[in-house]
């Protein structure tokens, strides 16, 4: 039963959502909306579990003085401090001028932007590897990238007026064709995965039980 009940819930929910996609009747829609509300409630509970997991793992590592434990301490202290500030400001904690907003804008936004900025350097190093021409495919990739990059900057049209046109053609014809092919395959994959779950033949997400 430990395995069957989750499977039955998955199948029933899957069938209902599928039916709800095609039937706009309010009776079906009302249940559909209720299920969405249940999902929000369940996810809210998982935040408690997630927080507990986060605290347990990091506090244990701080106690054991494991490698880089100072970072874990910084995490726990900043987490608790931010939560305390947020709770002290009540439901308006996200308003402009609150201490919570100040913490978010001063610390989190800056650090997040720093992480994102690293992408520029990673793109450069990845491009260096990608554009080393070793095979015919790599040559085609490098040529396409060369035309595209030149075609999308002002100097491209100065070098040759046809470069922006070629860049647009690359994006609209070969790129779009390949992308649509991938998307069609992915869409069929999505349907196949959905059917496998709804029909109960995909059971990997649940324990088979018994061990052995």
């Amino acid at each position: 039963m430990k395995r069957e009940i989750p499977l039955i819930i998955s199948m029933a929910s899957g069938i209902f959502v599928l039916v709800g996609f095609f039937v706009p009747h309010p009776a079906i829609r009302a249940i559909y909306d209720d299920i969405q509300q249940w999902v929000i409630i369940v996810v809210a509970f998982t935040y408690v579990l997630g927080m507990a997991n986060l605290m347990r793992i990091n506090v244990e590592q701080i106690q054991r003085r494991s490698k880089d434990w100072v970072y874990k301490l910084a995490l726990v202290v900043s987490l608790l401090a931010t939560m305390a500030v947020g709770f002290s400001e009540g439901t308006h904690y996200l308003d402009d001028g609150t201490k919570f907003s100040w913490i978010y804008n001063t610390f989190y936004s800056a650090m997040s932007a720093t992480m994102f900025s690293l992408l520029a350097f990673f793109i450069a190093s990845a491009a260096f590897r990608a554009f080393r021409v070793r095979t015919v495919e790599a040559l085609l990739l490098a040529l396409a990238a060369f035309i595209l990059m030149l075609g999308r900057v002002p100097i491209g049209s100065v070098i040759h007026p046809y470069l922006p046109v070629a860049a647009d053609w690359l994006m609209e014809i070969p790129q779009n064709a390949a992308k649509r092919g991938i998307l069609m395959g992915a869409a069929l994959g999505v349907m196949a995965t959905g059917f496998r779950v709804i029909l109960g033949i995909e059971r990997t997400y649940g324990s088979e039980g018994g061990g052995g």
């Binding site: 990845a126 069609m184 196949a192």
Partner: protein, 404 residues
């Protein structure tokens, strides 16, 4: 044109125009008052026998009822605004809304005092604002809102899904009778087992990143399914498996999947609760934490399987720096180039969704892959035929498969 009555009931039913109220600043009630005079004037016009341009009113198709759609051809010189009037059988016209004069359609799905009730035939008329009898619309034919049981706009999707489901069931039946199919080898999927074996030999762990979307995303669901297969392998080899989750719901599911997989292969004692972790739901904070794990713990294999966005290259490049064997899989087309460049193997689109069936070699699951391939052939044939027909001036098939 049917004769319209102007009586007190219609005036009582009237509520001040929303637009007038919306545009009236505090302390300036005069504009609402003037709107009241405009309505009185317009009620006078609507009671006249003047005829105007045709106004169509029909039940809104494929909805849950309580809605009527109006359509008209705007006059050459449209007014600034239209007042929409509505009448129920045996009752006078009453204004329900004010809309822009440039519009050519309106959907009446009023609630509250003006609620549209299913089964009641409604008639409509448009009155211009400023009031002008020459721009009055005809009274529309009666339209009765009804509840739809099937969205006919999704018939094409329904046909493809039904065909797909039928084929899945057919091929599952075939597999139960012992039919075996062969599929092209997918290097990335073969490499997953090799990568885990390599980690085992090196005495290092496997890092499994399930993407940055929540559990309601199909890519994350597919990732959880693959995680089950990967966890079975790591459990057999007693290789540490690290799963950092970026959503608490994903963490909860991943923890259950890994625990179940270890239990299924009889290695429940090898399961370490600390190895499946909730990190954070913030995208770049998550990247920082996972990159830190890669640099500190140096896993020998990194598996990036799920939905990824801007963080794809940040993760994959860091993993590349650590020298780990990297396998990525996603259906997010825009992230594929980054993974192709920075990873050793990349599962592209459908290969990613095929992974669980491919890894398990279960005949029923492989049946669903066979169905997927068959539908793909059918779709390609349909696209070719529709393109030829469209070129020959027959757009019917192409239009049928256009989605809304």
């Amino acid at each position: 044109m049917s004769r319209l009555r102007l009586d007190n009931r219609a005036l009582r039913a009237y509520r001040p125009l929303r637009t007038a109220r919306r545009n009236t600043p505090k302390g300036a009630p005069s504009s609402v008052k003037s709107a009241g005079w405009i309505v009185l004037l317009s009620l006078g016009v609507i009671a006249s026998h003047a005829s105007g341009f045709p106004l169509q009113a029909t039940d809104t198709r494929n909805d849950g009822g309580g809605s009527v759609t109006l359509g008209w051809t705007p006059p050459p010189r449209p007014p600034a605004q239209w007042i929409v009037y509505r009448a129920e059988p045996g009752q006078a016209f009453a204004p329900i809304d004010t809309i822009g004069g440039e519009l050519a359609g309106y959907t009446d799905e009023q609630s509250g005092n003006h609620a549209v009730r299913n089964g009641v035939p409604y008639r409509y008329r448009l009155v211009p604002l400023p009031v002008d009898a020459t721009l009055l619309s005809d009274v529309s034919p009666a339209a009765t809102p009804r509840v739809s049981w099937f969205d006919t706009g999704k018939l094409n999707v329904f046909i493809v899904i039904t065909l797909f489901l039928g084929l899945v069931l057919y091929y599952i039946r075939q597999s139960e009778r012992g039919k075996v199919w062969s599929f092209r080898p997918i290097a990335g999927l073969i490499a997953i087992e090799e990568a885990i074996g390599r980690s085992t030999e090196m005495g290092k762990g496997v890092l499994y990143v399930p993407g940055v979307q929540d559990i309601d995303d199909i890519q994350t669901i597919a990732s959880m399914i693959i995680l089950g297969k990967v966890a079975r392998m790591t459990a057999k080899y007693e290789t540490p498996l690290l799963v950092p989750a970026n959503s608490p719901a994903v963490y909860t599911v991943a923890d259950e999947v890994v625990k179940g997989a270890y239990s299924d292969v009889g290695r429940a004692d090898a399961y370490r609760a600390d190895n499946v972790r909730y990190i954070t739901s913030e995208q770049f904070a998550y990247v920082a934490a996972v990159n830190g794990m890669m640099l500190r713990e140096r896993p020998a294999a990194n598996l990036f399987l799920g939905a990824f966005f801007a963080e794809s290259l940040l993760l994959a490049e860091t993993g590349h720096e650590t020298g780990a064997i990297q396998i990525a899989g996603t259906a997010n087309v825009h992230q594929l180039p980054f993974f192709v460049v920075a990873c050793d193997y990349t599962l592209i689109g459908e290969e990613y969704y095929a992974a669980s069936a491919y890894l398990s070699k279960d005949a029923k699951l492989l049946g669903s892959l066979k169905a997927s391939d068959t539908v793909k052939i059918a779709l390609v044939v349909t696209i070719v035929v529709a393109s030829i027909l469209l070129t020959l001036g027959q757009p019917g098939l192409a239009e049928f498969f256009a989605t809304q």
